[in-house]
């Protein structure tokens, strides 16, 4: 049977090409993720662990040390040096310093580290110059910005030790630049390296680490045990252990990223599995007569099934191998790209772990074979007699899976209800479970849902597309299982993408509302003294300013002999603040108090507050605003009646609802006006905060959409593949249609409509489902943080539908060309 199988693979190479591509993409994605993770780990280990290079054993201090006690590591150094198998020891001291480069007005923070005396324990590699050899010579990291030969001013930080003489600045010469590439810490602060003696001079009294180099031939493990026995108070690790531990602290983020990427990889693999299952189902259907002939000449049903599985295995192995290659190539491309930019995750040379290769090969092959299981089982049901019957048109309707329908409903309905309830309650983990379960229900129901939706969509497009659209509708429905499987693959990607899009939009709306409630005023100009009316006018005249409202401030005293500052707002403030949710504006005769103000004055909501100022006394109705951070707010008129000296010292500014950039420009212009006329005043605004939040969400969305794009691309390959296989199957029909007068263009249009129906239905269903999941997810994640605002970004959702449907039509181009090339005679001849 194996020869027959291999012959099948060769003969149908074109037909399984799409499955191969699906596997190549999915496996490539997973392998690239694993390789990038390994590369990143290796780079970090290499860079962060660099300081343990050459160290056989590393000692660090444990626990707190009593003040004034001697440095335990220094004492240990002497003891350890005497142990057999120890060649040299080095005490690593560090101390913070300030560096001032010539020509710079400010100084910058850096960490100074002492160099080991023993060359074998000096891990620092210089990219320029040399390491310091004498006093007041330093080597620096690139981050400091100093070059070889520069003389810089180094000021040891005052460590605040009692009785210590404040350290004096000193001139030191940069003799070398140390290469710290790949070390995530290198970008944060500058590093200075100097002799151990200098470090001691600069105030580094104690050492952080004691590193030990082993004599040639000494056993590292034995040495570690000996050191542990000699210095029980210290933590003792081998150099390799210490390097791994240090690296682990920095790769936590990378590990998170890897698991997120692998989730997207899993989605891609799942979608690929659907495409493969569909391909093999179609191949088996098309090969019914061949398989029946095999049964006629004596093949058992088991042999037939095994031949289908063997074919899947061959395809799986070949495609997985290609996928591994593609993945490694992708990882290399990404790391080449990243290494040219500054990235929070360091990437050096690409590392291809054997596990990534193995995972890729096993995963791809296993998924292919698993996906082919159901079609292989279908192949066993081919009766030998089928070989003798004339070719029959494929059944128009397959049997409805009542069990599947029932199971789908049983899974979907309760989990959907649970999803709504749990997400409203903000129970994230449970809601995610319910969401996943409900999606499983949707996938089970897809075989019923998709054909029904295609049927309805077909009715809608028939007036537009005429006969080709009518034929497309009929063709899309003639094999509901195949159509459903094709659409489901696309449905998954589109659902996840729209869930992310809706989630991001809702998060943005929620965050914006929370920001507005917390900071209801776009820009606050706060003068040290009164803000003159002409300056208020100039602020109001700044382009991009929609409105201003002056705020009067004064001093009043109330019950319990409390004197407090009060704000007086004008009626115009109502048009300037964006939200009164937390800080409501008072009416005349009313005082809005924060909770702490109410406590201070000893009044409650609805009561009266007698206030006295330099100009008079007044009783005001108390309104307590529980979320307000403003102590006491009155109307400006009331405040002036109380405090004769009250003056406008604050101006609230509302900006026009233009883009972030325009608003930032307006803030800059307001700042210019204010610093120009009132140098001691301050300008604050939340525009920058809002836009940085938006930027973050946009980036997140872009990345996620790109990752899900992999799954969508695989699904679209599936659409094209199913069409291509259907074209082969319907060769006779296409011929008949051409004989009856269907033009080539109409035949192509027919396939385009079919693709549009399948992809469009999948896209619309996916967007509807995804919107639901996005809204539920936002509610579940954010309801604990803030009142959730749900938002549906209609334009983006419409864009997703348009792109998916359009790409579906694009996927029909090649199969349609092939169909149109068929001559009518060849088709009738069969």
């Amino acid at each position: 049977m194996l020869t027959t199988t291999l012959a099948q693979v060769r003969a149908h190479a074109g037909r399984v090409l799409a499955s191969c591509l699906a596997i190549v993409i999915a496996v490539g994605f997973v392998v690239a993720t694993l390789c990038l993770n390994a590369s990143s780990r290796a780079s970090v280990l290499d860079a962060v662990g660099a300081q343990y290079r050459g160290s056989a054993v590393v000692l660090s201090e444990t626990g707190d040390r009593a003040e004034g006690a001697p440095d335990p590591l220094a004492a240990a150094a002497t003891a350890v040096a005497a142990l057999p198998g120890v060649r040299a020891t080095a005490l690593d001291r560090t101390t913070p310093v300030q560096l001032r480069l010539p020509g710079r007005s400010g100084s910058s923070f850096a960490v100074a580290t002492g160099l080991a005396d023993d060359p074998g324990l000096r891990w620092q590699r210089v990219s320029a110059g040399r390491l310091p050899t004498g006093p007041d010579e330093i080597a620096v990291s690139e981050r400091t910005g100093a070059g070889v030969g520069t003389v810089v001013t180094l000021t040891p930080e005052d460590l605040g030790e009692v009785d210590a003489v404040p350290p004096a600045p000193r001139e030191v010469r940069v003799v070398g630049v140390v290469d710290l590439r790949g070390d995530p810490r290198a970008g944060v602060t500058g590093q200075v390296f100097a002799s151990d003696a200098d470090l001691t001079t600069w105030g580094a009294a104690t050492a952080d680490l004691l590193r030990v180099a082993a004599a040639p031939g000494a056993d590292v493990a034995a040495l570690r045990d000996a050191v542990t026995a000699a210095v029980p108070a210290a933590e003792v690790l081998t150099g390799d252990e210490a390097a791994a531990q240090a690296a682990a602290a920095f790769t936590g983020d990378a590990a998170n990223l890897t698991s997120v990427l692998l989730v997207f990889g899993a989605v891609a693999v799942l979608v690929a599995a659907l495409v493969i299952a569909n391909t093999f189902a179609v191949l088996v259907a098309q090969r019914t007569r061949e398989l029946a002939l095999l049964r006629c000449v004596g093949a058992t049903s088991g042999q037939v099934a095994r031949s289908v599985l063997a074919e899947a295995a061959v395809v799986g192995v070949l495609a997985s191998a290609a996928g591994v290659g593609a993945g490694v190539g992708l990882a290399a491309a990404v790391s080449a790209l990243v290494s040219r930019t500054t990235s929070p995750i360091p990437l050096g040379a690409v590392v291809v772990p054997a596990s990534a290769v193995a995972v890729g090969l096993v995963l791809g092959t296993a998924v292919t074979v698993l996906a082919a299981l159901a079609p292989a089982r279908g192949a066993t049901r081919v009766a030998p007699l089928a070989a003798l019957r004339p070719v029959q048109p494929p059944p128009v309707r397959s049997r409805a899976g009542a069990l599947r329908l029932a199971l789908g409903l049983v899974v979907l309905v309760p989990s959907a209800v649970a999803l709504v309830v749990l997400s409203r309650a903000g129970m994230l983990t449970a809601a995610v479970g319910a969401g996943a379960l409900s999606f499983l229900g949707v996938l089970l129901l897809a075989r019923r849902l998709v054909p029904a939706a295609v049927s309805v969509a077909g009715l809608l497009v028939r007036p537009l597309g005429g006969v080709p659209a009518r034929l497309a509708q009929g063709n899309a429905l003639r094999n509901p299982r195949r159509t459903a499987a094709t659409a489901t693959a696309l449905l998954i990607g589109v659902t996840l993408t729209s869930a992310m899009v809706v989630g991001a939009a809702s998060t943005r709306a929620t965050a914006t509302q929370a920001l507005v409630a917390g900071y209801p005023t776009d820009v606050v100009v706060e003068g040290a003294d009164a803000v003159p009316t002409d300056v208020q006018g100039r602020i109001a005249a700044v382009p991009g300013v929609a409105g201003t409202s002056p705020v009067t401030t004064g001093e009043v005293s109330g019950p319990r002999e409390t004197t407090a500052g009060a704000q007086g707002v004008e009626a115009s403030a109502a048009g300037v603040v964006r939200s009164q949710q937390r800080s409501p504006l008072p009416r005349d005769g009313e005082a809005v108090l924060s909770v702490s103000a109410a406590d201070t004055f000893g009044v409650a909501d609805g009561g009266t507050l007698p206030l006295t100022g330099s100009a008079g006394t007044q009783e005001l109705r108390v309104r307590v605003a529980p979320d307000s951070e403003q102590f006491l707010v009155l109307t400006a008129a009331d405040l002036r009646r109380l405090d004769g000296a009250a003056a406008v010292t604050v101006v609230w500014v509302r900006l026009a609802d233009a883009g972030d950039r325009a608003q930032e420009r307006a803030v800059d212009a307001v700042t210019d006006v204010v610093t120009d006329s009132l140098p001691s005043s301050s300008v604050s605004g939340v525009v920058a905060e809002r836009s940085s939040y938006d930027q973050l969400l946009r980036t997140f969305l872009l990345v996620v959409t790109g990752l899900l794009g992999v799954a969508v691309v695989i699904a679209l390959l599936g659409v094209g593949n199913t069409l291509a296989l259907s074209v082969v199957e319907r060769r006779q029909e296409s011929g008949l249609l051409r004989a009856l007068g269907l033009t080539r263009g109409q035949l192509r249009a027919q396939l385009a409509w079919e693709a549009l129906l399948v992809a469009g239905v999948a896209a619309v269903l996916g967007v509807v489902l995804g919107s639901g999941y996005g809204l539920a997810g936002t509610a579940a994640v954010l309801s604990a943080e803030a009142p959730v605002v749900l938002a549906l970004p209609w334009a983006q959702l419409a864009g997703i539908v348009a792109v998916a449907a359009g790409a579906g039509v694009l996927a029909s181009v090649l199969p349609a060309r092939r169909a149109a090339r068929t001559s009518p005679v060849a088709a009738i001849a069969g």
């Binding site: 004339p390 128009v396 009518r470 029909e733 004989a739 269907l742 080539r744 001559s823 009738i828």
Partner: protein, 257 residues
Amino acid sequence: MPEPHPTRTAPPPRRPAEAAVSAVALTKTYGRGDAAVTALDAVDVTFDRAAFTAIMGPSGSGKSTLMHCLAGLDTATSGQVFLGGTALTALRDRELTVLRRDRIGFVFQSFNLLPVLDAQENVLLPLQLAGRRPDEQWLRDVVARLGLGDRLHHRPHELSGGQQQRVAVARALLPRPDVVFADEPTGNLDSRSGAEVLGLLRGSVREFGQTVVMVTHDPVAASYADRVVLLADGRVAGEISAPTTDDVVDALRTLGV
């Protein structure tokens, strides 16, 4: 309705004005060099209007190839084909397609109907492709004549072989084409259903004045025709007017079948 006479430099030897379809020195070869097979060897033949003509011949005689070329399904290697006054050999694919749609009806041996359309949709398909509305009275007449009234909304797989062929005949007749080509229309039918379909084809000629050209290798089927054209080795080998089954069997025997 006679077509306007096209202007040509060399008039064909025979092209009677009454001919619905004619072939002039029609040659069709497949393959090249040593492997070349001549399916049609300079065939000259005409088919009269409002007549039922059968093309007969042994397997490999070229009868199907002849029909494909006459119907604009296949292109000739050399020679010419006229549908009325239109030279098919001068047409490009799109023009040929439109010509088939508007002026030719087809009944094939098997796989005549689109499985996704019901009987009525199949019948109306050529008209819909042309964007034309059916003549309601004519549609009722044809459907009634073919006894399809209660089967119009069945899908092909719900119909018997004979019913499927009757739907195909209705589809071929509905646009009132210049000619209906039938390729072994009874090949897959039992004798009773076959007789029914042949009776319908002959009826369409007698009652509606339809031109029908049928390819068959069944002498009984050929006996329904007004005239039989015999083909052997890609050449016209004779013809029989008002044939009986016995005439046809005798004629075929002389051709060495």
